[in-house]
């Protein structure tokens, strides 16, 4: 423009930023499944604070370290003392560390879904090609994956350590595999429960409190009742009581089918028949929380 009217050009015009104009986009539009995958990876990264502020990286990273350090110490001890076995079973590790896992799920489930609800970002997602089911699946899968990373990482530390300590390879590999299946189930179960609670509590603080309350109260109540049942010699009831909290539920499943020793009082896990019920309840809870999330987001819409 300045070239066309050199006389009219004011001194100020020379420092002007020239607008290069609007460019249209003719490139590919990758559609629904790509958008769903992007949401999954964004949510998974977000669960460890990646792509978010420094402040939001602190807690998840800290919890991750806290999960792994005991495993590293156990390995160091096993290598140093030339022990014949690891001090703790692969399947037992997550049960022992359940407080850390609960804290993690309580902090990250609300950050994953409550933010979108609280700041009403959800309509922006649904005004794009993705559907309700895509959103729910991406969020569910992302949180379950994040939990799996949290719970599987110390098992890998244990496994590698066990191999370095030259423990029996076949034995360790079998235990490691069983441990992975167990934490995978636990991740799915806790992610489902955590997300359902978080999706009905748009305020993040309430979400955190609610998830912690549900996980600890249910575990506390179940353990207490089991202890009472043990004292009263009604050990038959112990297994059935265990159905009512997520952690004891996974404990029951792995005791019955994954060669774990039960953490129940008296060490009496469910029998195979009872174990089948445990598996059904676990899968039912996972499917149920998926269904509840779908129902919740059907309502949110725009």
């Amino acid at each position: 423009m300045a070239v066309e009217h050199p006389v009219a050009a004011q001194p100020g015009d020379q420092t002007r930023i020239h607008n290069i104009g609007y460019r249209t986009y003719d490139g590919p539009r990758l559609g629904r499944s790509y958008a769903t995958r992007s949401l999954y990876s964004q949510s998974l990264r977000g669960a460890y604070g990646l792509g978010r502020s420094v402040k939001s990286k602190v807690l998840p990273m800290l919890l991750f370290v806290v999960m792994c350090v005991p495993a590293a110490i156990m390995v160091a001890v096993a290598v140093a003392t030339k022990a014949s076995d690891l001090p703790v079973d692969y399947t037992r590790y997550a049960i022992v560390m359940q407080a850390v896992i609960s804290l993690y799920i309580a902090s990250q489930a609300p950050q994953s879904v409550s933010r979108d609800l609280r700041f009403k970002t959800v309509p922006l997602y649904f005004s794009r090609p993705i559907e309700t089911a895509d959103y729910v699946r991406a969020k569910f899968a992302a949180l379950a994956s994040a939990l799996f990373i949290l719970t599987a990482a110390p098992l890998i530390v244990l496994y590698v350590g066990a191999l370095l300590a030259k423990l029996d390879f076949a034995d360790q590999t079998k235990g490691f595999a069983q441990g992975l299946v167990s934490v995978a189930l636990l991740s799915l179960l806790l992610a489902g429960i955590g997300l359902v609670i978080a999706s009905v509590t748009p305020r993040r603080g309430f979400g955190i409190a609610a998830v912690i309350a549900v996980l600890t109260i249910s575990y506390g109540a179940v353990s207490t009742l089991q202890a009472i049942a043990e004292v009263q010699n009604s050990s038959g009831a112990i297994a059935w009581i265990g159905l009512f909290s997520p952690v004891t539920l996974i404990d029951g499943v792995q005791t019955a089918f994954l060669g774990a020793t039960s953490a129940f009082p008296g060490g009496v896990g469910p029998t195979n028949g009872e174990g089948a019920v445990y598996v059904l309840v676990t899968l039912g809870l996972i499917a149920g929380s998926y269904g509840l999330l779908m129902r919740r987001y059907k309502k949110v819409g725009l």
Binding site: G21, Y22, R23, T24, Y25, G27, P28, R29, L30, G31, R32, Y34, A35, S38, L39, Q42, G51, R52, S53, S56, R115, D116, F119, K120, T121, P123, L124, Y125, F126, S127, R128, P129, I130, E131, G301, L302
Partner: protein, 329 residues
């Protein structure tokens, strides 16, 4: 661009849309209606997110009932309410939204930088959104609606909460979306006045029914109202009344500025028949020796559009006349 055919949406207790048939062509189209007139419901249906109770609608030639996902890929949407997370930067947020629209990562980043620049966000785009002013937030909301280069955008009350300057800037931006970017716009507002300046075409809905659909030039040119304000002088201590009487003597109907606002009594409204009315006003004011403070075209208020079908506004016009007579006597 958009075509609806006796589109209805009924909720258990309210009818949000009542057999609405409207055709919207390319360009900037204003959708005007009072709160609860069914504007947002219409947008939801057009995005394929809420099924219509009866009737059908097409957006970009695609049926909303069956091609919702295809429509949403080619259409942008800016909601009325806040929708931005405060703890991420505008750039991160808009990149994410671009990817949600199906843009590959590199294209998403490039388009985000372009779009944010076009809506007028520069260095601040790297700061968390929580610290933005309302005007900047509106720009981010607009950017996320444009980032995937849609063929059509729905803007729901984009000037809400903005100060007059911000309002003007936003309206200018909306105009540019069509003229510079080549994207058609459907913009809702409850203020007809601001849409008149921006839109090629205005659709007025009330109670879910179509009240009027016409091009903007249609209803600004058929009746132009002039507002004039004059000073007082020694000869004419009440200059306003003197001007009114003089104009009346020359056969021009004059109304008082309505609304009962402070100072409104000093404003005279008259209907301009054409160029000669302007000359007449000039001559009359000059003959009286008064100063002409303002002479401007008055835009219609939404209530005046309702005159066609609503009887309520007829009464108000009558009331205005009575008031004018009362002052005159």
């Amino acid at each position: 661009m958009i075509a609806t055919e006796s589109l209805s949406k009924r909720f258990p207790r309210v009818t949000a849309l009542d057999r609405l048939s409207v055709d919207v062509g390319p360009g900037v189209t204003g959708l005007v209606g009072a709160n609860g007139a069914g504007k947002s419901t219409l947008i939801k249906i057009l995005l394929g997110l809420s099924p219509a109770t009866e009737g059908r609608a097409e957006v970009l030639g695609l049926d909303v009932a069956t091609k919702g996902a295809d429509i949403r890929e080619r259409v942008g949407y800016m909601p009325e309410h806040d929708c931005l997370p405060p703890d991420v930067s505008a750039t991160e947020f808009v990149v994410h939204m671009a990817r949600m629209s199906g843009l590959p990562p590199a294209a998403a980043r490039e388009r985000t930088a372009d779009t944010l620049r076009h809506v007028g966000l520069y260095e601040e785009r790297y700061r968390p959104i929580g610290g933005y002013s309302t005007g900047m937030k509106q720009r981010v909301k607009l950017a996320q609606a444009l980032v995937h280069d849609p063929q059509l955008v729905f803007l729901d009350e984009p000037t809400n909460g903005l100060d007059p300057v911000g309002r003007d800037e936003m309206l200018g931006l909306i105009r540019r979306i069509h003229t510079d970017f080549g994207i058609s716009v459907l913009v809702t507002s409850h203020l007809l006045g601001e849409l008149e300046r921006t839109c090629d075409h205005v659709v007025v809905v009330d109670g879910g029914k179509l009240l009027r659909s016409s091009s903007t030039t249609d209803f600004t040119q058929t009746t132009t109202t002039l507002a004039i304000e004059v000073t007082d002088s020694d000869d004419h201590p009440d200059g306003t009344r003197a001007a009114r009487d003089a104009l009346h003597a020359r056969g021009v109907d004059v109304l008082d500025g309505s609304g009962g606002l402070p100072g409104a009594g000093h404003i005279l409204l008259l209907t301009a028949q054409g160029e000669e009315t302007y000359d007449l006003v000039r001559d009359v004011v000059a003959d009286l020796g008064l100063g002409l403070v303002r002479m401007e075209q008055r835009r219609h208020h939404i209530s005046e559009v309702f005159t066609d079908s609503g009887q309520g506004s007829e009464q108000s016009t009558e009331a205005q006349r009575k008031e004018a007579v009362g002052h005159g006597s």
